[in-house]
């Protein structure tokens, strides 16, 4: 990856290394000049190995999380780029009819006169940045060999004498050497149909099928194509497709190799743009676009993983803090004595920093290395997911620069926490530490902290206001939450009881966060403050902090009730009394561990519920497919017309009682411009679809926003049937508030997909070929959640002709099936019946399920990734349990002396850990479900397409796995506690 969050990775690596260097200066100073403090610090590491292992495991999670996100991004970038190089080979720019989708979409297949090629070649000739250029014709074409048919094939024609790319088959056959009736095919088609050299293949590319002999099999890629493809001389293909004298694109190659060519794109584009001026053609920097897209995809996924990984990072930060608090508690008396005999505070900090630095360096290295492994797992998983959707193969590639960034970032996060923790633990009262008494509050310190919290309150308030005014979600929410937190802190310092001030703050945090989902319907600015994906993490933090705060100060009442239930049990009554007392007596420690569990469970639960809420049942899928449960595309050069369709449907016994009707849609590459806006924008490419009357009359596609005056969706469809100047747009053509909403060349302003109603919008559409234009009144916006997803307008067939100037052959077919018909069987029957038209038909339930499986797979991938944080939580519980056994050795001895049996001591420890884990799990699960509920009911987030649904099984697995893992982690320390020799424990100091 070249950039992350807009910062070049190279600069980031240098900057972070420099920051880390500065942060490590005190440690280096300690190593060089304060060797005693350094030794005191690091000698603790090998003393308790099990604890050290747990600490390193916990600390490495931050680095692991970051490095795996970068590793995944690098690999994705590499894979997509490789796919681009494989697909395009020497092609750097493509010149085609202006269209919305670029190469490979309809615009790249719209034929134009070969004469235009001749017209522009003179302008390209002799240009130093361009290697060569050739005309090409690409057409969708079904291929048939024996009984096997490949409906998704294409045929490509290039001049036989082209020098772009050597098209030489394994048997030595070349394009130039082909005889009449011979073609080359690629490995993909050969595999699909089982073709060998010398076999005859029937190709349906135009009005009549053509029989070709396979002269050779080309390796996939470049001009030979990455999908199933027949390659032949241009003239042969023109004849086969019935497009004599026409081509679909001009392919341009820049100087340099496949990888190097992209560097000359800007220069080449300037030349080609000048050459195509005044023609209906537009050059597209295909390779550069592909590479930028690779970068963009990698960036999006890295951002997703980094943001979701923030939960693990945060949990890791809490663990570091917790560990240092516990280490400080363990060594409190030792530190007090050290201070008493002359050790300064900074010496304590130095020794803690030395210890922390050693842990950080070790865990950073382990985390980075494991991060590489995790990213490999992630990319392999992603590859398998996308393989089902025909995605390209995924390779693993990780840049050392990314590793440096990940290592430094992880180290900085870890080390900053270590620094803060060291500073905090060094502030001890010497007498209280030596005598093991609680630290006493000093009046002067208290009044100073009151002033500090007062200033924090004001600063936070200012930050919130700035965020509100400038519509900056991060600033507003950080400011708001800090205002609430500091208000609680200040109230406490002003004498308000602890429980009241902190409970009120916690409730305030939760109310602000959850309430915003309700209030944003009434307060416009709040809706505008939706923010990006990072808000998911911030909201999670705010909610969990609030809930843990409330829980910690109110759990006492709850557990008194639970303990009362078992007051008659000889075993449980005393065990519960101690098991509950310890976590409540150490609210900071318990709160941190609870927060860790709550954060992890929250993130997993919300992901599971949101995924489940967007999954549709059969009725939902029917609506998603508009009621057309089998949909097909055909070669536009040989598309079946209405009468042909009707004849085949009635004659074919497999279709006669299967298909109830067929809607047809023709597609045309146009350019659009919105009228009536303050600043009229240039024409932007957009697809104009013309639907026939059957499609209009039977469409169940939901219209999300209707123009005033239309009572329901049917009224819109009927009006469009009658009036060719009316149109609806897809949701992608209007603005979106979603974080990853795409922007297309043609977008309608002043309209959102979640608006309740709209005023008709006038747009002018024109043909890039003929220049013919027509005005359309847009009277509706289609729902986001359907198959008509790309940026396009829909009008009637007659409406389409207003711009095209002639009837356009349909390319898309929407089959309405008779009740009870199996969709997959029907789709197969359609493909067989219309094989000569290269019809590719698909069951929409199957298509939805495949798509959904990929999405769910990706969600699971993220969940597993976020589950890494669970390891930290479990490690934290382990650290606490191990530490508790050591800390309470003498108390265990007393308990055993006064009558606690071994298993009672053991049970006490298990209940104590269970209590913390269950509290964290309950908080995380409840908050996750509540937030997911609000999100699915918030139109700004869900677009009204989600149905709140709880995936009980998945939730059960998350909760049970977390709980069992937590209990298992505590089992060994608890067992150890039960086996503490009584007399020895009583002597323990």
């Amino acid at each position: 990856m070249e950039n992350i969050f807009g910062i070049p990775m190279g600069s980031l690596a240098v900057g972070l290394a420099a920051i880390l260097g500065i942060l490590m200066t005190p440690v280096i100073f300690t190593v060089l000049f304060k060797r005693v403090m350094f030794r005191i610090g690091v000698r603790n590491i090998p003393r308790r190995r099990a604890q050290t292992v747990l600490i390193v495991v916990g600390l490495m999670l931050s680095t692991l999380s970051i490095s795996s996100a970068f590793g995944f991004g690098d690999s994705l970038n590499y894979s997509v780029k490789k796919g681009v190089y494989d697909q395009l080979g020497p092609i750097d720019e493509t010149v085609a009819i202006k269209g919305a989708g670029g190469v490979g979409s309809a615009s790249g297949m719209t034929p134009f006169s070969e004469a235009v090629y001749a017209q522009i070649t003179s302008a390209l000739a002799g240009n130093s940045s361009i290697d060569g250029y050739i005309p090409s014709l690409v057409s969708q074409a079904a291929a048939k060999f024996g009984v096997r048919t490949e409906p998704a094939a294409q045929i490509m024609g290039v001049p036989a004498d082209q020098t772009f790319q050597e098209l030489r088959a394994q048997n030595g056959a070349t394009l130039a050497g082909l005889r009449a009736g011979e073609v080359l095919i690629n490995e993909k088609l050969a595999k699909s149909l089982g073709l060998k050299v010398g076999d005859s293949v029937q190709v349906y590319a135009g009005p009549s099928p053509v029989q070709f002999k396979v002269a050779g099999i080309l390796p996939n890629g470049g001009l030979a194509g990455t999908g199933p493809q027949v390659t032949a001389p241009l003239l042969v293909v023109q004849a086969a497709a019935g497009l004599e004298g026409q081509i679909t694109s001009i392919l341009v190659s820049n100087r340099g190799s496949v990888e190097e060519g992209e560097a000359g794109t800007d220069a080449a584009m300037t030349t080609v743009k000048a050459a195509t001026a005044g023609t209906p053609l537009i050059p597209v920097p295909s390779k550069q676009d592909g590479i930028r897209q690779a970068e963009s995809i990698a960036n999006i996924f890295t951002t997703i993983f980094l943001v979701f990984g923030l939960f693990s990072v945060m949990v890791g930060v809490l663990l570091i803090f917790l560990i240092f608090m516990m280490l400080a508690a363990e060594r409190r008396a030792e530190m007090g004595i050290s201070r008493a005999i002359g050790t300064k505070r900074r010496h304590l900090i130095q020794s803690f920093l030395a210890e922390g630095a050693a842990y950080s360096i070790l865990s950073g290295a382990v985390g980075s290395a494991l991060g590489v492994g995790v990213s490999w797992v992630l990319i392999s998983w992603m590859g398998n997911l996308l393989a089902g959707l025909g995605g390209s193969s995924f390779g693993f590639d990780i840049k050392p620069r990314s590793m440096i960034v990940a290592y430094c970032l992880g180290m900085i996060v870890t080390f900053l926490t270590v620094m803060f923790s060291s500073w905090r633990v060094s502030r001890l009262n010497i007498v209280a530490a030596i005598r093991d008494l609680p630290d006493m509050k000093v009046r002067r310190a208290r009044s100073r902290s009151t002033a500090v919290w007062g200033l924090v309150l004001l600063g936070s308030l200012a930050l919130a206001v700035i965020g509100w005014v400038n519509i900056n979600a991060l600033s507003f929410w950080v400011g708001t939450s800090m205002t609430i937190v500091s208000a609680g802190m200040l109230a406490r310092r002003l004498g308000v009881p602890e429980r009241l001030s902190y409970s009120a703050s916690g409730l305030g945090l939760m109310t602000a966060c959850l309430g915003s989902f309700y209030l944003d319907r009434y307060i416009k600015r709040l809706a505008e403050l939706g923010g990006g994906i990072e808000m998911f993490f911030l909201f999670g933090m705010i909610l969990v902090t609030g809930a843990v705060w409330v829980a910690m100060y109110n759990a006492g009442s709850l557990i008194t009730g639970i303990a009362a239930l078992f007051r008659r049990s000889k075993t449980l009554a005393p065990v519960l009394k101690t098991a509950f007392a310890y976590p409540l007596a150490y609210p900071f420690r318990t709160g941190l561990t609870t927060a860790m569990f709550a954060l992890v469970v929250f993130s997993l639960v919300i992901m599971a519920v949101v995924s489940s809420s967007f999954t549709k049942d059969a009725a939902g899928i029917n609506q998603w497919a508009g009621g057309y449960m089998v949909q097909g595309t055909a070669n536009q050069n040989n598309a079946p017309q209405a009468h042909e369709l009707a004849a085949k449907l009635s004659a074919d016994p497999a279709l006669r009682n299967t298909v109830a009707g067929v809607g047809m849609v023709a597609m045309y590459s146009a350019e659009g411009q919105q009228q009536g806006v303050l600043k009229t924008k240039a024409y932007g490419a957009v697809i104009l679809n013309g639907a026939d009357s059957y499609f209009m009359a039977n469409s169940q596609y939901k219209i999300k926003v209707r123009a005033e005056g239309y009572a329901n969706d049917r009224a819109i469809w009927e009006a469009m049937t009658k009036d060719p100047s009316l149109a609806v747009v897809t949701a992608n053509t209007v603005q979106t508030s979603e974080a990853f909403g795409e922007s297309f060349p043609f977008m309608i302003e002043g309209l959102k997909s979640d608006d309740k109603s709209m005023q008709p919008v006038t747009v002018i559409l024109r043909s890039p070929i003929s220049g013919k234009s027509a005005a359309y009144k847009v009277i509706g916006v289609l729902d986001t959640n359907n198959m008509l997803a790309s940026a396009a307008l829909y009008t009637s067939m007659a409406g389409l002709e207003r711009v095209a100037g002639h009837a356009v052959a349909p390319g898309q077919y929407y089959f309405k099936l008779a009740p009870g018909v199996d969709e997959v069987t029907a789709a197969q029957a359609v493909e067989i019946a219309f094989a000569t038209n290269a019809m590719q038909a698909k069951s929409q339930t199957q298509a939805y399920n495949e798509l959904n499986a990929t999405i769910m797979g990706f969600m699971t991938l993220i969940q597993v990734y976020m589950g890494l944080g669970l390891l930290v939580g479990i490690a934290a519980l382990g650290v606490i349990a191990i530490r508790s056994v050591v800390e309470r050795r003498q108390q265990i001895g007393v308990l055993r002396a006064i009558g606690f049996k071994r298993r009672m001591v053991q049970l006490g420890f298990m209940i104590e850990s269970s209590f913390i884990a269950m509290m964290g799990i309950a908080i995380g699960a409840i908050l996750g479900v509540v937030l997911a509920y609000l999100m699915t009911h918030d139109p700004a987030f869900s677009g009204g397409t989600a149905e709140f649904s709880l995936p009980w099984l998945r939730l059960g697995v998350i909760i049970l796995t977390t709980y069992v893992a937590a209990v298992l982690m505590t089992y060994l320390p608890a067992r150890q506690a039960g086996r503490v020799p009584v007399a020895e424990a009583l002597r323990f100091e």
């Binding site: 609680p438 009362a564 001895g893 055993r896 006064i898 049996k901 071994r902 009584v982 009583l986 002597r987």
Partner: protein
């Protein structure tokens, strides 16, 4: 005399067999020891205890014989490392020993399972330690009621008895305070209340005044002496302090793992 011994034998057999402490089997020789035990509350014979740390073997007790009568206040004194605390731990069933026998109120400790021994401690013994050893997370009254809850007393009754015990040591006022909020003397009073709340037949006290100043130590001891007089409870003290020794009925001196 014969009748008394026979009664003692019957009682001991009843205890050892019916309660199942010996698994229903009467061990050879145990009848004589049991008869002896019936006269005293603590009877120890030939106790040997060795600590083996691998590199070093320390013979802490080298055949200690001891007898404590019911209601007696006995002190065990001696220099550091002479085996005082080890002896107390062995007598209280907190520590295993290699050879010898200990009978408490006629019940032999050797061979008892850990669970049985723990139950026995909960019902019949109280403990006072030098460093108080109160649970810091529980209030004074909660610390005191814990042995009752372990013995199966209902929560309500345990609370009532705990408050009564605290009243005995004049600590009612601080019942809800946590140990960190109490002075050393107050903590030791709470420990005494915890040791006595179960009305044990014997209380083991390991340097109970070791961490207290003279005045507080005297206060604590006066509480203990009063309770001993009123309840006829047996106290076995381990102490360094001759002043404390002087307050007791009898003092046993130890040196190098033996009573001298």
């Amino acid at each position: 005399m014969v009748t008394t011994i026979e009664t003692a034998i019957d009682t001991t057999l009843d205890v050892t067999v019916r309660r199942g402490f010996l698994g229903g089997r009467v061990q050879p020789g145990s009848v004589v020891i049991a008869a002896e035990a019936a006269r005293g509350i603590v009877l120890a014979q030939g106790i040997h205890k060795t600590y083996d740390t691998g590199a070093v073997k320390t013979h802490a007790l080298r055949g200690v014989d001891l007898r404590v009568e019911r209601g007696e206040m006995v002190g065990i004194m001696g220099p550091s490392g002479c085996g005082k605390t080890t002896l107390l731990n062995c007598l209280a069933g907190l520590e295993e020993f290699e050879a010898g026998a200990v009978h408490i109120d006629g019940t032999p400790l050797k061979g008892m399972s850990d669970d049985k021994k723990t139950e026995y401690r909960a019902k019949e013994m109280g403990f006072v330690f030098q460093s108080y050893n109160l649970l810091p997370v529980l209030s004074a009254v909660e610390n005191v009621e814990l042995p009752l809850l372990v013995s199966g007393t209902s929560a309500r009754e345990a609370r009532r008895l705990a408050l009564e015990a605290l009243e005995m040591v004049a600590m009612t006022q601080w019942a809800r305070n946590k140990p960190a909020e109490l002075s050393g003397g107050q903590r030791q009073r709470v420990t005494i209340a915890r040791a006595l709340v179960n009305k044990p037949s014997i209380v083991w006290a390991d340097e109970p005044t070791g961490a207290l100043d003279t005045e507080t130590a005297d206060e604590v001891m006066s509480v203990v002496l009063k309770l001993n007089r009123e309840n006829d409870q047996t106290f076995v003290f381990v102490t360094h302090d001759p002043r404390i020794g002087a307050m007791l009925d009898r003092v046993i001196n130890m040196r190098d793992g033996l009573i001298v």
